[in-house]
């Protein structure tokens, strides 16, 4: 297969991700794990490559793929028109639901209500774009854990992020009764999450799409989804 020539380093699938974003990618006892880590390993295996992960701060994650720091990014990245102009996307592997998380007292349940409020979001994320679209002010916070900390400490009015990430957070923090979480899937359409690739890497994209198809077929994708998200979100919502 001639996608080999697209690779940053030979015989290796180099994958960029945050590594601090539970349950997508995070460390457990020092070892990288999470849905997208397992997915990356499975992808690599299908392609007959070794998976190599490069944890990168969100701020520079997308810039890194253009700079050939890794072959693709698996980091709950959503397809958007602007990104499509500059990058290449694989077929989607999950459909991520937005959640609006805010302190209980604030009673923020409608996405329209965030107008003029300050939301903690990572620079250039989809979450930030949604928040901006509905008129919120952005407080640039790199990591999800930090964003939630800011909300709970009352230093941000709320945050929009993926519902799955919130569930993972709620699981490891016994007490989340101070938080109010609204599933925004009714208000903002769930978004396609795909691997992000460099514009020129058409061959690699084809190969990745092929591999994803096989992973969906053999049930690996749904299995991983259930394991890390507690639900199968790999199918397009009706």
């Amino acid at each position: 297969a001639n996608y080999q020539s697209d690779l940053v380093s030979q015989k290796q699938l180099t994958i960029g991700l945050e590594g601090t974003y539970k349950p997508y990618s995070y460390r457990q006892d020092g070892k990288l794990t999470g849905f997208e880590v397992k997915l990356g390993q499975a992808l690599a295996k299908k392609l007959g490559l070794k998976a190599k992960f490069v944890p990168t701060k969100w701020d520079s994650l997308v810039a890194g793929v253009g700079a050939d720091k890794y072959d693709l990014v698996l980091n709950n990245i959503t397809q958007t028109p602007e990104r499509k102009k500059n990058y290449r996307f694989s077929t989607p592997y999950i459909y991520s639901r937005y959640a609006l998380i805010s302190p209980k007292k604030a009673k923020l349940t409608k996405v329209q209500a965030i107008k003029g409020k300050t939301l903690a979001e990572g620079t250039g994320t989809n979450n930030a774009q949604v928040a901006k679209k509905y008129g919120a002010k952005i407080s640039a916070s790199g990591e999800f854990a930090n964003s939630l900390a800011l909300v709970r400490q009352g230093r941000a009015d709320g945050t929009i992020n993926s519902l799955e990430a919130y569930y993972a957070y709620a699981k490891s923090n016994k007490k989340v009764s101070d938080l109010n979480v609204t599933d925004l899937s009714k208000q903002v359409k769930p978004v396609k999450v795909s691997a992000l690739l460099k514009k020129d890497n058409r061959q690699l994209q084809k190969a990745v799409d092929q591999a994803l198809k096989q992973l969906a077929k053999d049930g690996t994708l749904s299995k991983l989804s259930k394991q890390y998200f507690g639900a199968d979100i790999t199918k397009a919502p009706k």
């Binding site: 701020d59 520079s60 997308v62 810039a63 253009g66 700079a67 602007e82 500059n86 990058y87 903690a120 620079t123 250039g124 952005i138 407080s139 640039a140 916070s141 790199g142 930090n146 900390a149 800011l150 400490q153 009352g154 230093r155």
Partner: protein
């Protein structure tokens, strides 16, 4: 390219005026004050309870000089809210990002500048102390009227360097959600996918600001007749 620069430059400059410069100026002013107090307390010959105060200030200087600024910022902004002290801070210490930034930068500058001022006070020749003592000045009068004015003059070049350093260090404030200049450049890069251009642009702005400050420093030193070490080669 030019259109991108034209579009982003105003945003970057606004961020500089709103955050980068105020952060640097306010923190430096507070830091200098703290540094002066710290330097004097640490230089005092002491007895009894005062020793504890001195040890405290020595600890403070040690702590802030031997840990990275970035870690300090994280501790103050993300860490302190978890520090729950019954009675005093039952809910932890939660600071607004700008305040957290000013606090950290001031403490950091204070620690380094106190060493600068301390060295400057020690660099004032012993003869100045003796001359003042021989004229009947008390220690306090000597410090205030003779030593500190001379020490501050000696400190001008290193302190000016510290200020320029602080301007550059404000780029770390992005990590505690302050949207200073570098953060803005990253946000723009996340939109237009031109990181090299955006980072270079922001580097250029820093370079212009810092060179301007260096020039001012030169003027200041010339005014106070401070000459840098000279020689022949």
């Amino acid at each position: 390219m030019w259109s991108i620069i034209e579009k982003s430059l105003p945003q970057l400059l606004l961020a500089a005026v709103q955050y980068t410069i105020p952060l640097a100026v306010i923190s430096f002013t507070l830091g200098l004050l703290l540094a002066l107090i710290t330097a004097i307390i640490r230089l005092k010959q002491t007895r009894g309870a005062f020793k504890i105060l001195r040890a405290f200030f020595s600890f403070y200087v040690w702590l802030f000089r031997s840990t990275p600024l970035l870690v300090q910022l994280f501790i103050v902004y993300f860490g302190l809210p978890y520090l729950k002290i019954k009675g005093l801070f039952p809910d932890g210490i939660k600071l607004d990002p700008f305040l957290a930034g000013v606090l950290t930068f001031s403490l950091n500058t204070g620690a380094y500048a106190s060493e600068t001022i301390r060295a400057a006070i020690l660099a004032v020749p012993t003869g100045q102390w003796e001359a003042a003592a021989a004229l009947g000045f008390t220690n306090k009068q000597t410090l205030q009227r003779i030593i500190i004015p001379q020490a501050l003059k000696i400190s001008i070049p290193p302190l000016a360097n510290s200020f320029i350093g602080l301007v550059k260090d404000t780029s770390l404030a992005a990590s505690i959600t302050i949207i200073e200049m570098f953060e803005v450049s990253q946000q723009i890069a996340a939109e237009n996918y031109q990181p090299l251009l955006m980072y270079s642009l922001v580097a250029l702005i820093y370079a212009v600001i810092c060179s301007g400050l260096s020039w001012l420093q030169g003027q200041l030193e010339a005014k106070f007749h401070l000459t840098t070490t000279g020689g022949e080669s």
